[in-house]
């Protein structure tokens, strides 16, 4: 299966089948059947290639004084900027509701779909995972 993913990546780079994958990994790690939501506090927007990552502190379920650190994969900075993001779009301490695609292995985090900030604004993550349903 991994071989297929690599070959898929290759074909995406090479001559022309424009309808084949452009991402550099398969996204098979994410459950594309539907999104979930979680609320937390931004710990960091890791503004890096090939994927930006957003780190969010989320209160541990059933506990009042501990937090879990969630990680959300996002697009590349170049793609994000085309969608209105910049490296200051999310700041440390921002309260956010994250809509995301779960990781299939059940660990906390995933691929973000959208961030809703406390001022009512939203940031859309570039992903077409939903169209795969």
């Amino acid at each position: 299966m991994m071989r297929g993913r690599l070959l898929g990546f290759l074909a995406s780079c090479l001559l022309l089948p424009t309808d084949i994958a452009l991402a550099h990994h398969s996204y098979a790690m994410f459950d594309g059947s539907g999104t979930s939501k979680v609320t937390g506090t931004v710990a960091k927007l890791e503004w890096q290639n090939p994927h930006a990552f957003v780190w969010v502190y989320v209160r541990t379920p059933d506990k009042t004084d501990t937090y879990d650190l969630w990680a959300f994969e996002n697009g590349s900075p170049s793609v994000l900027q085309a969608h209105g993001w910049n490296k200051d779009s999310l700041k440390v301490g921002d309260k956010v509701e994250v809509e995301y695609w779960r990781l299939r292995d059940g660990s906390i985090g995933g691929h973000c779909e959208k961030f809703a900030l406390s001022d009512g604004s939203t940031l859309q993550c570039p992903s077409d995972l939903g169209r795969r349903r």
């Binding site: 299966m1 991994m2 071989r3 297929g4 993913r5 690599l6 070959l7 898929g8 290759l10 074909a11 995406s12 780079c13 090479l14 001559l15 022309l16 089948p17 424009t18 309808d19 084949i20 994958a21 452009l22 991402a23 550099h24 990994h25 398969s26 996204y27 098979a28 594309g32 506090t41 710990a43 960091k44 890791e46 890096q48 290639n49 090939p50 994927h51 990552f53 780190w55 501990t66 937090y67 650190l69 990680a71 994969e73 697009g75 590349s76 900075p77 170049s78 793609v79 900027q81 085309a82 969608h83 301490g93 990781l103 299939r104 660990s107 985090g109 570039p126 992903s127 077409d128 795969r132």
Partner: protein, 269 residues
């Protein structure tokens, strides 16, 4: 004497720059620093438009397994049938090192992550710098410059203006450049690109690829870009960047949850 020196310097420059090379920029191109204002404004960073991540449909796998991608060898109709067959055989037989086969192939307009680029004008040459690492030199002249390689992954690109459209013809493409699994580009391939503004903030590249060894007819591709004048250009290469999503050592997807070292403490609430 001073005038003679000046005259001699000009003569040498002309001889080196043009007279000894009839296809040179000086001889062929009206493009000078003074004339740049007369050409279309291609300044800024151009970012591919369209879905940034277009995934082939997932193929249902065994119960409980993650879906794999299909479509690797489902090639467009211009591809010869045997190319698809070789592709399927290769998929069954081999696992390529994707970094070693990264193409620098100009028939594929920059797309997706890392597909942003800049276009830089200098007299006699246009340079296209693509964020994923490719730097293309497009010579505004009648023929390739002396010393151009016979073949290379990106070939040799010669440009001309047709009105406000930059037309680029690329030859000298390496016939051994990989195209799809199991197939290389083959001899006598060439690419013609037409690069033009659609409006003030939109650029279109139309590329037509002729590759008789693998295509039964020329194949055309079109990609549109949005301008971001103030955007910071950030080169990157998935083969050298730290990648939380893919482990090249194992060839496995991953989700690296190692926290950054500089995270603040959790909120106190």
């Amino acid at each position: 004497m001073k005038n003679f020196k000046s005259w001699f310097a000009v003569a040498v420059a002309v001889a080196l720059g043009a007279g000894c090379d009839p296809g040179s920029a000086l001889a062929q191109s009206p493009m000078t620093y003074e004339s740049l204002k007369d050409f279309p404004d291609f300044a800024g960073s151009w970012t591919p438009l369209g879905p940034p991540f277009v995934l082939a449909p997932a193929t249902p796998g065994p119960q409980g397994a993650a879906p794999s991608r299909s479509g690797v060898c489902d090639l467009p109709p211009e591809f010869k049938a045997e190319v698809g067959a070789r592709c399927r055989q290769a998929v069954q037989a081999a696992r390529p090192d994707f970094c070693s086969t990264q193409p620098y192939f100009t028939g594929n307009p920059p797309r997706g992550a890392g597909g942003a680029f800049e276009i830089l004008f200098t007299p006699g040459r246009i340079t296209m710098a693509v964020e994923s690492g490719l730097v293309r030199r497009i010579y505004l002249r009648a023929q390739p410059p002396a010393g151009a390689l016979d073949v290379s992954r990106s070939g040799t690109s010669i440009g001309r203006w047709e009105g406000a459209t930059l037309v680029v013809e690329t030859t000298g493409l390496d016939p051994n450049a990989p195209v799809v699994p199991g197939a290389v580009l083959g001899p006598d391939a060439r690419v013609v690109e037409r690069i033009a503004l659609v409006d003030d903030e939109t650029l279109r590249i139309e590329a037509t690829v002729t590759a008789p060894a693998i295509l039964s007819a020329p194949r055309s591709i079109q990609q549109v870009y949005r301008r971001a004048r103030a955007r910071m250009f950030t080169d990157f290469d998935t083969c050298v960047e730290s990648d939380r999503s893919f482990n090249r050592a194992t060839g496995q997807d991953r989700f690296d949850r190692t926290p950054p070292a500089d995270l603040p403490p959790p909120p106190r609430e």
